[in-house]
Symmetry: C2
Subunit: 219 residues, 2 copies
């Protein structure tokens, strides 16, 4: 993809592009069922490069991407998920617990690419600008990059699933990264087994969409 644009002349985003972008937002999905086809590593690196076009507080670029390829580390992460998820299930009862137990909440079994994403909380880049009263803005910068990667991946037919049912301290240990790196997300990436526009948790009747007007207030 073109990385250098015309510095002086902003592009025009016409109605056709805007409608297609809306379709992209609608069709981005949290994917948990992957085909085992490999994804070209160059494509993954391009997606990571694109993700770094996201905003970051003080231009701190705190995103750190760990490509987890080692089978032993993957197995340990998966065991971490299994334990954490069993604990989570224990917090539900009745029909809700039954439903929870049927949900597929991760793609760790088959996802050909697995990326752990961290925030470098002590990065010198950005010289602390903008993050003094809200240090969590470093983590937020990483999340903006993840959403950017997710959208770019979808345009290539690649699905992404965000696994958060993990003990974050254990993830940091398993992946042997500096303890100043804050764990943000574990991403399962690959070609999806199926395509659908409705969110997984809507389909399974776990949680419906809520009318957005309920979440807007005036002050």
């Amino acid at each position: 993809m073109a990385r250098v644009g015309d510095l002086c002349r902003p592009p025009v985003f016409d109605v056709a592009f805007r409608e297609k972008l809306e379709q992209l937002f609608l069709w981005r999905r949290d994917v948990r069922r992957f085909r085992t086809d490999q994804v070209d590593n160059k494509l993954i690196e391009e997606l990571i490069a694109t993700s770094a076009l996201a905003p970051s507080v003080g231009n701190s670029q705190p995103w750190r991407f760990v490509n987890v390829a080692d089978p032993n580390r993957r197995a340990t992460i998966r065991a971490n998920f299994e334990t954490t998820n069993a604990d989570a299930l224990g917090n539900y009862s009745g029909e809700r617990a039954k439903l929870y137990a049927t949900l597929k909440l991760d793609g760790l079994d088959k996802a050909p690419v697995q990326l752990a994403v961290f925030s470098a909380t002590q990065t010198p880049h950005g010289h602390g600008l903008g993050s003094r009263t809200m240090p969590e803005t470093l983590a937020y910068s990483v999340v903006g990059a993840i959403q950017t990667l997710w959208l770019a991946a979808r345009t290539q037919g690649i699905g992404v699933g965000w696994v958060s049912i993990l003990d974050p301290t254990d993830v940091t240990g398993t992946l042997d990264v500096p303890d100043t790196w804050q764990f943000i997300a574990y991403l399962c990436i690959g070609y999806p087994e199926e395509e659908h526009m409705d969110p997984e948790l809507v389909r399974t009747e776990w949680q419906a969409r809520v009318d957005i007007s309920k979440f807007m207030v005036q002050r």
Copy 2:
């Protein structure tokens, strides 16, 4: 914009769309200099609706948007920024302090639309799924929505600037929102005075972009 798509047939995102999307990522900017032209309120509501197509943990949809229109509240927020920013300046010395003092870090003076964005930490939606070991994923969901809004705004020629140099507790008080709402971002929104592709903090030589390959590791 079309809200309902074909549930069964995913759209094709061709090379032309992907290149334009890359341009959108490149040209999304943190804007601090706004024209005073009004932005149609319907457009803001549409952008907020689009933002809610972002992923959220457990489909919890924890985003809460506060449209801050009251001049007194706006003045209090601006005073909050001025104090917090003066404190931040006090942490730099020498050339770095001189440079910091020249930076324009907010658009609170002129932005016609100001949105404070919160995360509803106690929302019943999503039934706690996915956020037990990492409750911060609720905040992360809100950040994904903000990045989505930012991109959609840019396609309409609308600039967004994220102000994080604020005392978050004071913002919550000023805006009289529930104290279970966690303050995430204060967004200045409007038509930009100028268009440029390079980030503000790169132009001012505060912080250059770093080669993304330095932020990728293998495990």
